[in-house]
Amino acid sequence: MKTSDMKPRTIIEKIWDNHIVSERPAAPALLYIDLHLVHEVTSPQAFDGLRARGLKVRRPDLTIATTDHSTPTTPRSFPIVDKVAAAQVARLEESCKEFGIRCFGLSSHHQGIVHVIGPEQGLTQPGMTVVCGDSHTATHGAFGALAFGIGTTEVEHVLATQCLLQNRSKTYEVRVDGALKPGITAKDIILALIARIGIGGGTGCVFEYSGSAIRALSMEERMTVCNMSIEAGARAGLVAPDDMTYQYVCGRPHAPKGAVWDSAVAGWRKLPTDEGAQFDKSIKIDAGALEPMITFGTNPGMGIPITAMVPNPGDITDPLERDSLAKALRYMDLAPGKPLLGHPVDVVFIGSCTNSRISDLRNAAKILKGRKVHAGVRVMVVPGSMEVKAQAQAEGLDQIFRDAGADWREAGCSMCIAMNGDQLQPGEYSVSTSNRNFEGRQGKGGRTFLASPLTAAASAITGVVTDVRTLL
């Protein structure tokens, strides 16, 4: 069939079609995976599965591993105090050695959060299928890749066959037009989307983020938006590649070079959604109307503009929904109808696969420069990778953080998932640039307000939830 005869397709459908290995009746498609990212938490049982069957890793050359989740962010010369975590980190390095997989372990200068290092190394490229045993794999969608999280059984499938059985998802266009006002960031776009459609709003779908506001975002900002697609329930979220994408990828260690680069770009230019292609669902967001967003509750959909009041369960008719909100406010110990602005904060966490890249750290440093962290507030700045850390230090950002009274750490997931000893104490409140505010997510009994690096840094200075626009 000639291309001109085909019905217009979305970028999501194009990438899908390009990766079908086989399609049988009454079965999901067998989809080829171009890049498989592996970390210590969701892989050990998958490697055991290979051993039990006597299987090899089919394409170690399309697989990359790193340690990030249970990895301490204390100086790398210190041993891992937690014996269980130490055994898990060691097991990943052993399995990688046994199966021939390259691993950026704790001693590597390339170690970091799996979703930070893929793009950093030029491994994440437009048009690819990317998977990882981690729900924030959608981050890689910023490059126009179809990237989604999988469970450990599927990790084993991909290790063994480089393929996955998958059913087609619905397509969902998230169109964001207009210009962001000063103090409003990519994080506020995605928190606003999740607050609008809810944490199940994208279930069964893949988002394509489009519109002038998305086009205007840098690659790192696009990663922040795509990263939290899962918090709206979507399987994945992506942004069609453009010159900004190619510029970012070009010259990175694993980017194609020379004539291969030219032909790759020519192929990537065919990826954007065709004129007239139909999406199953769509929503429009006016970027110009957005305010800094913050969550007040115990899921990422419980978000409000920072100047708004905490909602009242009494205003909700559905009984389960009303109970859920009431339960969330009890856990957070917040009163309905009151502002969040001015609420005391114990901890500020700047990091995670959502907001730990160099531009995030620059944003935080811009606010912290020449100021002091409020007395009694603990501030942790955790770079997304050792390369981000080196870059930040070359720019002197580490000194700005230290001078302000913040703690400058080694790379990892850290207090986003609180598996590595970095955690809140029961009852503490944090303003966090991470992606989840579920009960206990940052430590048992801890309470999380999700926000942008600007809002987090502003709250660190004042010791209370703060509208960054008052400090700009």
């Binding site: 999901p28 989740h69 059984t153 480089q162 199940g200 206990g440």
Partner: protein
């Protein structure tokens, strides 16, 4: 893989929407390199007090819950992370099915791959079950039916391939491995742009 056979069970009502995987099994228990021992950690932070003693009023600590095989959950069950430890923990506690109006995508896939059946029912049936959860229902995956008290039977949707795998005990990885020729020819036609080992 063992075949998924019909069974009867009481329901354990858990009337909370958007129950996330951090509640099902908190992240600090994911440092294990094994699949075992997770049943005791299911809903850990809700189920045990600060000293690690079971809270007697928490539903999963009640004797009638221990014999039950079906969790009756709120909307969007299993949202959050991709941790397969969530279905592993539910299975090891003794559950074989979860009934809800909707499931998060990754959780649903992980559950099906481990013979934990996610059953989606219409909102009115869901509400009816919550009104009187002290009943026994029958689950028949082959027929895709849920039989309610009084013999009323409702159909539930399930992915056809996943159902075949569960009912017939088909091993999915074995099924993919059989497609080796197709995988090899796809690879021959699509040379990789990266080499992580270079």
């Amino acid at each position: 893989m063992t075949k998924f056979t019909p069974f009867e069970s009481r329901l354990v009502p858990f009337p909370i929407d958007n129950l996330d995987t951090d509640q099902i099994i908190p992240a600090r228990f994911l440092k294990t390199i094994s699949k075992e021992g997770l049943g005791a950690q299911l809903f850990y932070d809700w189920r045990y007090d600060a000293e690690g003693k079971p809270k007697p009023d928490f539903i999963l600590n009640k004797p009638e819950a221990k014999a039950a095989k079906i969790l009756l959950a709120g909307d969007n069950f299993g949202c959050g992370s991709s941790r397969e430890h969530a279905p592993w923990a539910l299975l090891q506690y003794g559950f074989r099915a979860v009934i809800s109006t909707s499931f998060a995508d990754i959780f649903r896939g992980n559950a099906l791959k481990n013979s934990l059946l996610p059953i989606v029912v219409p909102r009115d049936i869901h509400a009816e079950l919550f009104r009187d959860p002290n009943v026994t229902v029958k689950v028949d995956l082959a027929a895709q039916t849920l039989t309610l008290p009084g013999g009323r039977t409702i159909q539930f949707p399930v992915d056809a391939f996943a159902k075949d795998c569960l009912v017939e005990g088909i091993d999915e990885l074995g099924y993919i491995l059989q497609q080796e020729p197709a995988i090899a020819s796809f690879e021959a036609a699509h040379p990789a742009l990266i080499n992580t080992r270079a």
